[in-house]
Structures are given as C-alpha cells and as structure tokens.
Symmetry: C2
Subunit: 166 residues, 2 copies
DNA sequence: TAACTCTTTCATTTTTTTCTGAAAAGAAAA
DNA sequence: TTTTCTTTTCAGAAAAAAATGAAAGAGTTA
C-alpha cells in the first residue's frame, strides 16, 4: 500500500470511528489529517485537502483546539495561522478523556445525585433507587479512575495497564 | 422530587448521554424506561409510555436485545411478547463494552494492521508510521484490557479499580 | 382453512445534524 | 486612515439519521 492510499484509508476509518462515538466525521478526519502530517496546515490547505468549505473548516478546527488536540502555530513572516496536531498519543488520550469526562460524565453524576432522593414507596420506587444507586456507584468509580488516569504520566498508565492485562 | 419526576428526568438524561455517545436517543430512553421498572413491558406499553410508533419501538427494542441489554419474557396465557432489562449493572457494562469493542475497536485494529506496512520514505512516511504504531499500541492495550475486564466477575472489577482509585 | 393477534419490514416523511458561502469582523500592512 | 489579507459568524441549504404507519409476515386459535 502506498503512503497516499494508507493516509486515505486512515482518514476514512478515523472519521467512521469518530462518528460512531458521537464525534462529527469531518472533525475526526481533519484530526487524522493533522495527526499523520509532520507539517502544520493553514485553513486553506485543510479546505483543499478535505474538499470542505471555509466555514466548516473553521468550525471543526476550533473544536479541535477546544479539545486540546490541535494547536495554533504562527510562522514568522506569514499572516495566516497554521495548525498542528498534538502528536504524543498519551496526551491525545488524556485530552479526549478529560473533555468527555467534563462534558458528559460529570453532568450525569450531578443528575444522579439529585435523583438519589426521590420520594415514593413500593416496588417501583425501590427499583428506581436501586438502579440509580448502582449507576452512581459505577459512574463515580469511573470518574475517579479517569481522574487519576489523566493526572498520571504515560509510564504510570503503561505500567498499571500492563499489570492488568497480564 | 416525586418518583415520576425522577423517572422522567432520568429518561431524559439517559437519552441525552446516549446520543452524545452515538446511541440513538430513543433506544437509550427505552433502555432507561425498562431499567427502572421492575415489571416487563409489552410493545404497546413502550409505545404509549414513550409516545412513539410501533415501527420505532420495534426497531429499538430489537437493537437493545442485540446488545444483550434487554430480554424477552413470555407470560403464560399472553400472546404478546414482553421485554425486561438486564438489571445487574455489571452485566450492563459488560454488554456495552463487548458490543462496542466488537463493532468498533476490533475493526480499527484490523485496519491499523494493514496500515503498518505502507510503502514510502521521507518525513511524511515516517510521521505516518509513527502515528499508526502509537495508535496500535494504545488500541491493542485497550483491547486486551477490555477483553480481560469482560471476562472477569464483578468482584474482580470492583477490587482492581478500588486499588486504582484508592 | 379462515379469522385473529401480534411482530416485522420498509418506502416515505420528519427531524436533526452538518455544511456552505457570503457578509461581518478583526488584524496587519501601506 | 485606507487597503489588504485572514478569520469568524450565521442564516439558509443539503445531507444524514430517525420516525412513521400501512402492509406484509408469522404464529394462534376457532
């Protein structure tokens, strides 16, 4: 397989994976494009490579920066902004965990807290509080595990998970 | 908060969480509905509770069964099928991990294998193979960790993660 | 076999999400 | 200040995903 074929296949797959995880396909593909490129890209280059509009490129570029997956790069003498992806895969994983945890896990934890004290008696109320309690147990365990994960360094991660997997 | 308000809020939140993780909102809400109910539901009851069409109810009910999150229940004397959710939260988590791993992680692992032997020289090819190698490292570590996780019992999970979060 | 009950399918409609492109805003150079 | 280059915004268009409902299918009972 040639480099170009490989890149193309990677962009395609990364986009598909992203969209099945609730991430806009184009955002995932721009991320993939920047990930496999040693050079930074201008907005125009991204637009041309991905055949997308300026608005679309800008919107997704900003989202990637918000997630911490992409950084701005200013080239001396150039007026344009350039963009380059975080290449350290451990940093990438940490960014994704941090963002999704903040945006999704933490809000649901707050709601579960509120739901812990519903009023009601009987089988229905009992089933409800049981489920909420169990979900809360798992969620807060997940939350603190991920919190520790993102606070640790790559070696800790590799070491700990190595132990887990054998 | 009353039981009904609580249920309503839970269905709402579970649906939102689901859709930000690439799971159809209605599927997540039906799941939530069945999760917090001690009794099983017929298709008609689901339709009425969620105000959705027969086709929609059927489609999502089937998806939930495919995932292993919901089971059929045949009541003696009744011609209808009834549906009841798996209530053991550890089983629920295992179902979700197993399905997503099979549908998403494993396919990408196969693609990463193919992408490992792209032909090409220079900075671009090097950047490409570096990224693919790193993603493969993380993915296969994740894969084997999740594999072991789903093969283990609840106590193992609680114990191990307890240690991690100490 | 015919009538009945319930489930499944799928072409069409509806809703939601994503994308476009032109206009506005911002920032550096002339 | 004015011009030039670049980024951002956002209303409307397009595409994608989800939902509907009627018809077909499947299994029971009469």
């Amino acid at each position: 397989m040639t480099l170009d074929e490989g890149k193309q296949k990677f962009l395609q797959s990364w986009g598909t994976l992203g969209s099945s995880w609730g991430i806009n396909r184009t955002m995932a593909q721009i991320h993939a494009l920047l990930l496999v490129s040693p050079e930074s890209f201008s907005a125009d280059e991204v637009m041309e490579q991905q055949q997308i509009s300026r608005g679309n490129a800008n919107m997704n570029k900003r989202a990637l920066i918000d997630w911490g997956l992409v950084h701005k790069e200013l080239k001396p003498g150039e007026r344009k902004e350039f963009f380059i992806a975080e290449k350290d895969m451990w940093e990438v994983v940490k960014c994704i965990i941090t963002q999704r945890k903040k945006r999704e896990l933490e809000p649901i934890l707050n709601i579960l807290d509120e739901l812990s004290d519903v009023q009601g008696a009987g089988k229905d109320a009992e089933a409800f509080t049981d489920v909420i309690r169990d979900i809360k147990l798992f969620s807060s365990k997940a939350d603190s595990t991920l919190e520790r994960l993102t606070k640790s360094d790559s070696n800790w991660f590799v070491g700990t998970f190595m132990k887990l997997i054998k």
